[in-house]
């Protein structure tokens, strides 16, 4: 499952979340985002220990700006509300999984 983030729940779901959460920053007009989103969805089913979230950069510009999004798709991994890693662009599922796991290991 992937939670939709808006300015109403950003604090609760991301900043105050204890543990890991990863956000997919996307927009409807972005072709690579469309390729990435089913992969992200599948990963959310496989990596239950992490919370998966997505944020539409058109609707939530301020959050996107605050997170210094310069290109989409961007994925940011947070631990206890603090960014610990950021991945850019579409990648195969296994590659993304590995990157997430490596980032978690580095920050254990």
């Amino acid at each position: 499952m992937v939670v939709t983030i808006t300015s109403n729940n950003y604090e609760k779901e991301i900043i105050n979340h204890k543990g890991y959460v990863i956000i997919d920053y996307w927009a409807s007009w972005c072709a690579p985002c469309r390729m990435a989103s089913p992969i992200f969805e599948e990963l959310s089913e496989e990596m239950k220990e992490i919370k998966f979230a997505k944020l539409n950069v058109d609707e939530e510009r301020l959050i996107a700006q605050a997170n210094k999004i310069n290109s989409i798709p961007t994925f940011i991994l947070f631990k206890n509300g603090i960014e610990i890693a950021r991945f850019l662009g579409v990648m195969p599922k296994e590659v993304m999984k590995q990157k997430i796991m490596e980032a978690i290991k580095r920050n254990e």
């Binding site: 690579p32 390729m35 310069n70 290109s71 850019l88």
Partner: protein, 305 residues
């Protein structure tokens, strides 16, 4: 893998997908390998010159092509082709997940990729300030200072797009005169947000994590958070070269008027082939894909392949 196709189309942009439609109509056993959403047309925010559609985004247009191909039940395998071997009377292609595809003929429709600056740290700043697609990334540079590299129509168009939202736009060009159409150059000159810096190239990218500035060949340093590279495209000819398909001095595949290359059983269509100044658009790519499919059909009928 035992199945042998009449035709493997490599590339799923307008050229490859159109070739797929025509090949299906010629009852050729056809398969397409490539990722439609990676077609460069997805960089086009709005396409206003493809007949039948007054206005459509590049992404929606390519999805329409895919729908059409699926209607004719031509399989699309959404993977890269990493290798093609020429056997005695067929070709053997390998996909990125090591699937094998056997085919009597190949249509190369792999398009082109944005040319990079080729300077240190460029890759580290991709998505962190450096961009090759203004349509994709311009919105993230609202109220920021940005630069565009290049002097062509597309560089000038990019600078106009950016000037709508950004605080200031530099155009950095290595010559002393922009080569875009005069009408567009006039617009640039009248836009007080745009400043053109001539006779200069980007030498260095500055910043820790995100881009903060650039250094030019004339020594000048600019504070910019975004750098849009618009210096043309390079044809994707790795596979063509491995098959000894001839390319021109500008790197494009050389084809005859029916899209045949110098290698028997290998055809090409779209942005990847033809002369340097050929019109490179969706309509020409689609048309060449159609012609290539007919050539495959004719060569099969005449037992040339």
């Amino acid at each position: 893998m035992n199945k042998e196709y009449d035709c493997l189309i490599i590339g799923a942009g307008p050229a490859g997908l159109s070739a797929g439609i025509y090949a299906a109509r010629y009852s050729l056993k056809t398969i397409i390998a490539g990722i439609p959403l990676q077609s460069i047309i997805t960089h086009a925010w709005k396409v206003e010159n493809y007949p039948g559609f007054k206005e459509i985004s590049g992404m929606d247009l390519i999805n329409k092509f895919v729908e059409h191909v699926k209607h004719f039940e031509v399989p699309i395998i959404e993977e890269q082709i990493v290798n093609v071997e020429k056997k005695e009377n067929h070709f053997l292609a390998t996909t990125s997940t090591n699937k094998k595809i056997k085919a009597r003929t190949i249509i190369l429709a792999t398009g082109s990729t944005s040319r990079k600056l080729n300077i240190a740290n460029e890759d580290d700043f991709i998505g962190k300030g450096v961009s090759y697609c203004a349509t994709c990334d311009a919105m993230f540079f609202k109220d920021k200072i940005v630069a565009v590299v290049g002097g062509s129509d597309s560089a000038v168009m990019t600078s106009m797009l950016l000037a709508q939202k950004s605080k200031k736009v530099y155009i950095i060009y290595r010559r002393d005169k922009l080569r875009a159409k005069p009408m567009m150059v006039n617009k640039v000159m009248k836009n007080n947000k745009i400043e053109v810096i001539y006779n200069a190239e980007v030498k260095k990218l500055i910043g820790d994590d995100f881009l903060k500035g650039i250094e030019l060949s004339n020594g000048r340093k600019l504070s910019v958070e975004g750098l849009f590279v618009e210096i043309g495209h390079v044809p994707n000819t790795i596979i063509a070269k491995s098959l000894r398909v001839k390319t021109s001095e500008h790197g494009f595949i050389i084809v005859d008027e029916n899209m045949r290359t110098n290698v028997k059983g290998v055809y090409a269509a779209g942005d990847i082939c033809g002369s340097k100044n050929k019109l490179r658009q969706v309509i020409t790519a689609a048309s060449e894909g159609a012609i290539a499919a007919r050539s495959v059909y004719e060569d099969k009928e005449n037992e040339v392949v």
